[in-house]
Amino acid sequence: MNYSLQKTGTAQKTSPWAAMRKLWPLIVQEKKIMSVALTAVVANAVLNLTAPRLIAHAIDTYIIPRDFRGLLVSGALVLGIYLLALVTSYMQTRLMGGVGQRVLYRLRNQIFHKLQELPVAFFNQNKAGDLISRINNDTEKINQFFSQALVQFVGNLFMMGGAAIFLVSLNVRLGAATLAPALILLVITNVLSPWVKRKNLASSQSLGGMSSEIQESLNNFKVIIAFNRRDYFKTRFQEVNENNYKAAIGAGVANNTFTPIYGLASNAGQIIVLAYGIALIAAGNFTVGLLISFLSYANNFYSPLRQLAALWANFQTALASWDRVHDILVLENNLQTIASAATVSDDAIVEFKNVHFKYPDGKEVLHDINLRLEKGKTYALVGPTGGGKTTTASLMARLYDPTTGVVFLNGTDIRAYTPAERTRKIGFILQEPVMFTGTVRENILYGNEDYAAHSNEELEAVIREANLERLLNRFDKGLETKLTAGGDAVSLGQKQLIAFMRAVLRRPELLILDEATANIDTVTEQLLDDILRNLPAGTTKVIIAHRLNTIENADEIFFVNAGTVERAGSMEHAIDMLMHHHRQS
């Protein structure tokens, strides 16, 4: 299955409404708050429209007739309105902002959940930096729209609506003429929006690309220094930075086209009022007083419209980001748990039946594999590098599904197990040990809840019991030794020790070691052999290694080469094949 998110620059035809519908589940619980907030927005707009009317009224009725007492009364009234506006204005920002923050929170969680749902293949096909950018930068753009733009959007729409009604009710023909430029704007906006969104999408993509580049370079900084390529970081970076610059300028110019056009339309509206209004007056159908208030209503209509121009660009940015987020959310894990499963009545823990496998980008790497692993035995997979050993092991743990054929676990199609059931049975020590920032304790107990409540002393007792004590002693502060994910404070060998302890403490039925001890010294390795031997009798072990001493105790040896798996009769036979097979990789 193809999980690649790299589609080039074609903006999907997500209409604003469709996007809103998809966002709806994240917002639905905010319905009440949002309706309160929107009420506050409307109330605020009404209050802001009322105060000037009151002041005008006060001037006409009190100041000009010189009534100071009356003036004070209406002053108090205006103060009251301002106080109310203080409350509504606080509420609209506070409530909508809160909605924005919570939607952002849920959206990020949702994307992260989706990431966790997707199989390993997804991560092989996408770059870490781009994913981070989607989770952080794109969701932030959506948030900005929610927390800042939406309030103004609604407030402005309301003001415009009110002004438009006044305009038309004062004089239908003049009103319609005044609003005509807005109609043209609507058309222009419709035409320009897809272009603006496309530009924003390109800009988001190049930001993701830049983020990937930074991610890769910083994580591999060692090589950059040792190979004298400090310039590499700089030049590679400058290149993506330049691309990002160009894309961002494209988006910036696109986003900024609305404002001048809306401004022009606004002025066109005014000039229409003036010219047409005066013509009407000349024809005796209108008065100067009405013309003046008409002008101010036209202003009330067009000045929020001008603000909408900026908000609309903001909306297009949010839509483009939504597309990128949505790309992830629509992906489905193809490693589903199946309901009805084929079974073989057999005592094998793992069985491969006619298994073929190919990675999405390439050639078939496993051809028609049939093999059978019995409970409690030790198996070794040997063969030249690139022959398919890791892929075979990955299929046993269902990191991937075979292209065709079936893998059975305990006699049942492995696809019928839930991930929890499957992973409880299988321990897999990966070729590249994975560490998380934290202590040795946290890393050993990672994903293991059995000992989560144990004190360090109790845990040490468990470790002693499992014969792992001497491995723990390799860490100067024991369980409390600090580790970082990418850090170099502990060696690769030590990381492999942690991965080993992590897997053994989970007591799996099937333990797969994929070159799990490659960087551990041979003396310690003998210790690991002892530990493996002392695992419960029912534990099946699958060992992939290049060192023959690690596999000499295997009950059976499989020779994996060029995508085929052959059973080697004896150790000598295996070595013979290793030495004399023509390498295919």
Binding site: I55, A58, I59, Y62, I63, R66, F68, Y82, A85, S89, T93, G98, Q101, R108, N109, L115, N124, L131, I132, N136, N137, E140, S211, I214, K222, V223, F227, R229, K234, F237, N241, N256, G263, L264, N267, L274, I278, I281, Y359, P384, T385, G386, L399, I426, E432, V434, F436, Y446, G447, N448, D476, A485, G486, L492, G493, A518, D521, L548, L578, S585
Partner: protein
């Protein structure tokens, strides 16, 4: 962080100095567009006055039309200049940052953490960009309007003018109080973004393990925790802003009230004309709008300032000076004299001395966590010793020009580091590699068959973290990369761990044949591959406990014998 405490707070506005060529026209365009916009209402009232007086409207309509088009052109130009200015600031700042980062040592980058640098280069720079694109123009034109309106207010009636202007210090005080707090919160927000980056990053790098252990729930929890902190701090910031903006609006509104009541009183008392009263009101409108704009912009400025503090912190870190000057070719001898290395409290290497002659082969052997990898990192200068000295050809490593040194030393890391680019670029990572050297390196690392099997050969793009390659293939690519620079000295860190025995033997023979005179230092676990070496050094818990040739060590070092015995059982197979 290493930012010196005494350092002056870096000024956001100072940042703009080099961009005068864009900022000045930007401000001029904005002021021109604003001035014209202010002029339009006057045109309209002239039009009406003129109509009443019976003059022709044509002139006014023309003027209005031309002014509108001029405004359109000015704002359009302004938006373009603004985009260019802000993006250029962002681009240059990113380039400065990357240039700075590229001078850092490996240890420094690890200490700052890649997650933080990623936020610096993306989110922080974006915040600064917003400052340039929005705040600059708005602040300047707002300040222009506020000053002009204040001047007009005072000139009409100084008593009422001053009364109205009392709001300005109140608003200033509110800004000061709230923005001070917000700035601290914004700094914290950025730290939380670093944290989110880290959690996402680790969950991506550890994707396979997480699926093997079915520990997604744990990752969710970690993420939810960071994400909830981000939400909570977002809400704290929101609370401050949602208080600040209404307060400022309210105070500005109070000014209207002052005019209405106090001004009304003056008019009633006859101290002021109704005409002046009316213009007072209209100028107040001009005064209030820019104050609100500044309120909104304060948000942008606070974020940008917090980000700029962080970016400036990185930019202000002292540049590492390469004081080395020696550019002579290496002969290949290496000495370590009484070298001690510490990581915090922990001593990784204690008083290590060793001497390696040109053209010889040396193995370093010892248990896991003995300090072998650190020793190699010291040799290539990735880290600096706490005490002691490292010499090449009897001269201190720091006397050599680093670049020159790296040209002659090939290092194969233990962990496979593959870049997301073509195989050719991965192997000829240093661009000075010639085609001949490249082919020789590929042949030596036994990669020719593999590359020939790829439909696009050397131009095949390998994926990030090398996930499309097997462990052994990655390691051989790493070796080819080191050999391609035609090194005088080759440092191997557990190179053969993932390569099968027969390939390993071929590769080592190839190296001896194709790179004669090479000084080889190999950290390894396998005695059998190094039995013939000129020197074997046994390292244990950071100390050298034995050294010599294989036969000597068998007689003198019980630890060596123990290691040897542990490999004895299958020794015969490991040819």
């Amino acid at each position: 962080m290493t930012t010196p405490p005494q350092q002056r707070k870096p000024s956001l506005f100072g940042l703009l100095k080099p961009y005068g060529g864009l900022i000045v026209p930007l401000v001029l365009l904005a002021v021109a567009a604003n001035a014209l916009t202010l002029w339009l209402p006057r045109l309209l009232s002239h039009g009406i006055d003129g109509f009443i007086a019976g003059t022709s409207l044509h002139a006014v309509l023309w003027e209005f039309g031309i002014a509108s088009i001029a405004i359109f052109i000015f704002t359009y130009l302004q938006s373009i200049v603004q985009t260019y200015a802000s993006e250029r600031v962002a681009r240059d700042m990113r380039n400065d940052l990357s240039a700075k980062i590229s001078t850092h040592s490996f240890a420094e980058v690890q200490a700052i953490t890649p997650a933080k640098l990623l936020t610096n280069l993306t989110g922080d720079v974006d915040a600064i960009k917003n400052f340039v694109s929005q705040a600059v123009v708005n602040i300047v034109s707002s300040a222009f309007l506020i000053l002009g309106a204040s001047f007009l207010l005072i000139s009409i009636d100084w008593k009422l003018g001053l009364a109205v202007l009392t709001i300005v210090p109140i608003i200033g005080g509110t800004f000061y109080l709230i923005l001070g707090r917000v700035r601290a919160l914004f700094l914290k927000t950025r730290e939380i973004i670093d944290w989110l980056n880290k959690v996402i990053n680790e969950s991506i790098l550890g994707a396979a393990l997480i699926r093997v252990l079915n520990s997604q729930k744990l990752e969710h929890e970690k993420f939810a925790q960071a994400n909830a902190s981000a939400r909570d701090i977002g809400i704290s910031i929101l609370k401050l802003f949602s208080a600040m903006i209404p307060i400022i609006t309210f105070v500005a509104n109070l000014a209207t009230l002052i005019i209405l009541t106090l001004g009304g009183k003056f008019v009633i008392g006859g101290a002021m004309t109704i005409g002046d009263f009316a213009s007072f009101n209209s100028y107040l409108m001009i005064l209030i709008f820019p104050i609100l704009v500044i309120g909104f912009m304060s948000n942008v400025i606070a974020q940008a300032q917090a980000s700029y503090d962080r970016v400036a912190g990185v930019l202000a870190m002292p540049a590492r000076q390469d004081t080395g000057t020696i550019v002579e070719p290496l002969r290949g001898s290496i000495q370590m004299q009484n070298v001690t290395l510490t990581y915090g409290q922990k001593t990784a290497l204690k008083d290590v001395s060793l001497a390696i002659e040109p053209g010889t082969r040396t193995a370093i052997i010892g248990p896991t966590a003995a300090g072998k990898t650190q020793l190699l990192s010291l040799l290539i200068g990735l880290i600096q010793p706490a005490a002691g000295e490292i010499q090449y050809d009897r001269r201190n490593i720091n006397e050599y020009q680093k670049e020159h040194l790296y040209k002659q030393i090939g290092l194969v890391f233990q962990d496979s580091i593959i870049f997301n680019m073509t195989l050719r670029e991965n192997i000829a990572f240093n661009t000075q590699v010639t085609e001949h050297d490249l082919q020789k390196a590929i042949a030596t690392a036994e990669l020719s068959d593999f590359i020939a099997s790829l439909s696009e050969g050397l131009d095949t793009i390998v994926s990030e973290r090398g996930t499309s390659l097997s462990g052994g293939q990655k390691q051989r690519i790493m070796l080819a990369r080191a050999l391609a620079i035609n090194p005088k000295i080759l440092l191997l860190d557990d190179f053969t761990a993932r390569v099968d025995a027969s390939t390993e033997k071929k590769i080592l023979d190839n190296v001896a044949k194709n790179y004669p005179g090479l000084t080889l230092v190999s950290v390894t676990q396998k005695i059998v591959s190094v039995q013939e070496y000129d020197q074997i050094i046994v390292l244990m818990e950071g100390e050298i406990i034995a050294r010599g040739r294989h036969e000597e060590l068998l007689n003198t070092s019980p630890e060596y014998v123990q290691i040897y015995d542990s490999q004895q059982s299958t020794n015969t197979y490991e040819l």
